[in-house]
Symmetry: C2
Subunit: 396 residues, 2 copies
């Protein structure tokens, strides 16, 4: 009983801290994005800002540069000194600078890292024993993920599912749920808005299951392609440009060049307008998913900061829109399914993703969501965006 | 690729077989229930029918009497000879006789046992290697559960979650999903109807979370009470009446007596009308949940056949209705939450239950569902309706 009281207290405090951090992040990210959108010349500063981010991490953050992988590693081998508090301001600043320059990145990495590092600091204040360290990190992940996307149920499961492939342990179901609900509550209470998506067309599953199977396979291949491309960029650029600052400057320059060649800003930053258009009939060009994949892998691979998840949403939704045109089904349906399934295949968190789909799109989509998400998860194989994930139970 | 084709073929065949069995079962159960309801004197035959069920199992079914526990045991130690085909007709007949006499029992046990034993027979035909035996049993469970309740997503997860406490392995995500979708599809295609429930009132979670926490605790205690009471009846009756036929006759007589004392048939059989009334304001008496719990434990404890899940739905929904009156919140809200949470606490399958809640009640209830279900799961402890479940990860 006393233990339950203690966990609940801890979960509420971590939820409050992570929720406040996410709210501040979401507001400042919106402001930075509007600056970027309204001042075209800011894109030219991307190489400079990339150098700055790399310098910041080289100077202050060598022990937190592994980001989400450091956090997953901590879930496997918890250690009270494992996640320094400086991870929070560094990833926040790095992400804002990346988006100010128009890098193509996301936000879940930032929110999860802020949540986990704040939680670790709170755990140190609380003088928790070693055995409970995992719990604290999980609560931080839950609260961070939940509050940045407004999806507390998905956030709860994500924290327990991200640890390993193919297995979900309920070791912290209630504490994570409380942290996630409080984190999400804080953001809502502060009136910080999340994006909304609307899916009007939900045909009977029995009519379109073959299309969904093919779409699920494509989504899974896109997840793999994203993971492979990001890793390739990282490996190549490290081999040819060992200096991290130079690497980010050159990478930034490349992104600026590509953006000018494309003559559109659709693929810079979070690409939320592009994401919204993917839900409209023929709202995006058929190769939009490939361009977003290209630019995001470049942005993250050379050392800019931010998450992978929002870009994965965009890649999935635009790929869904392309497939919808090909198969002659409504764009919003496949956009919503791709949104979730590509993320599931890349993060290897199918149950959290299905629940996120229900939180974002409602329950009418549950059957198609489950089918495409499970297929994408199976197809994407033992490769994903989190290298520190272990194999809990092999896929087949 | 060839492997995927083989699993898919196997899943489709198992889904078809289990779906047909469930459809036949649902139709015959509805017919038996209407016979029971329209002929009051049939209740008097309950002791006789109980003796008949016990005799049938003593004569033909000693190796399948363990029912769901035998199946869970098979998931731990798969064995191609482990689940005989006779389990299917025996549990079907036993359940129909139980409901004909007015015993208080459910249907998921029947559907799951039919699905698993048909799947095992199909697997033997297919000459599967030992290593794939688990997969076959899981597909049978998925398809049986999915088709009897019309909830394919919950059925898929249930098959993987029921194995052990606190852990969910995705070892058979896609094959189970295909079997579940096909099983459910068969039942729908045959136009066999499932019950529908409607929840109109979904208040903001932040206004009623304290009520939900208390309700979740009550639901978890009800889960424990059900498991304890059923086990007590079993232990006591076996000690005092070692002969299984005599045990069922005496138990049947006791149920008849109680039913006449109560002067209502509300608690006999599936109690679906009672379940529907639990969703209406003050639709049931405040002690309804206790009476249903009493009669179901008696029915199943002395050897009648059928599932535990529908009675758990009824106990949860009526307890929810009672709590709603107490707290002054809408009855349908707490009835829906109790429906799911008491089952989750007793079966130790929280994620399958939350997904079932979404399939039955829609996504607006997701937050409250997750909260009450997780609390009930935590409160109910390491005791449940399936003795063969192992502890995968201790609750806390």
């Amino acid at each position: 009983m006393r233990q339950i009281g203690r966990w609940t207290g801890l979960a509420v405090i971590i939820g409050l801290a992570a929720g406040l951090a996410s709210a501040f992040f979401l507001v400042s990210l919106a402001w930075v994005t509007s600056l970027q959108t309204n001042n075209w010349w800011l894109l030219l500063s991307l190489p400079l800002l990339g150098g700055l981010v790399a310098w910041l991490y080289q100077r202050f953050g060598t022990n937190v540069a592994a980001g989400n992988n450091l956090i997953i590693e901590q879930l496997h081998n918890p250690d009270s000194a494992g996640i320094p508090l400086r991870m929070a301001p560094l990833v926040l600043l790095g992400t804002l600078l990346t988006h100010l320059g128009g890098g193509s990145a996301g936000r879940e990495g930032t929110a999860v890292q802020m949540g986990a590092s704040l939680a670790a600091r709170i755990g140190r204040w609380w003088r928790l024993p070693q055995a409970e360290w995992r719990l604290v990190v999980m609560m931080g992940i839950s609260a961070g993920f939940s509050s940045v996307f407004g999806t507390p149920i998905a956030g709860t499961i994500f924290a327990m599912e991200v640890l390993a492939f193919g297995v979900l342990r309920y070791e912290a179901l209630l504490p994570c749920l409380v942290a996630a609900l409080v984190g999400d509550g804080v953001v809502r209470w502060l009136n910080v808005a999340h994006s909304h998506y609307h899916v009007a067309s939900v045909p009977d599953l029995s009519m379109i299951w073959a299309i969904l199977v093919v779409a699920g396979i494509c989504f899974g291949l896109a997840s793999s392609a994203f993971a492979i491309w990001t890793e390739l960029v990282q490996t190549w650029s490290r081999r040819w440009l060992p200096n991290p600052i130079l690497r980010a400057v050159v990478g930034g320059g490349l992104i600026v060049m590509i953006s000018f060649l494309l003559n559109t800003r659709d693929y810079n930053g979070l690409s939320l307008p592009l994401l919204a258009r993917a839900f409209e009939p023929q709202g995006v060009v058929p190769w939009a998913f490939a361009l977003k994949l290209l630019l995001t892998g470049l942005t993250l691979g050379v050392g800019f900061k931010g998450g992978e998840v929002t870009p994965l949403f965009v890649i999935g939704a635009t790929l869904g829109s392309t497939l919808a045109q090909l198969f002659g089904v409504p764009a919003d349906l496949l956009a919503a399914l791709g949104f979730i399934a590509v993320f599931a295949g890349a993060a290897n968190t199918p149950i959290a993703c299905v629940l996120m789909g229900v939180e974002l799109f409602g329950s009418t989509l549950l059957g198609p969501l489950m089918l495409t998400t499970c297929i994408a998860y199976s197809v994407s194989g033992h490769r994903g965006i989190y290298a520190a994930q272990r194999v809990g139970w092999a896929k087949r």
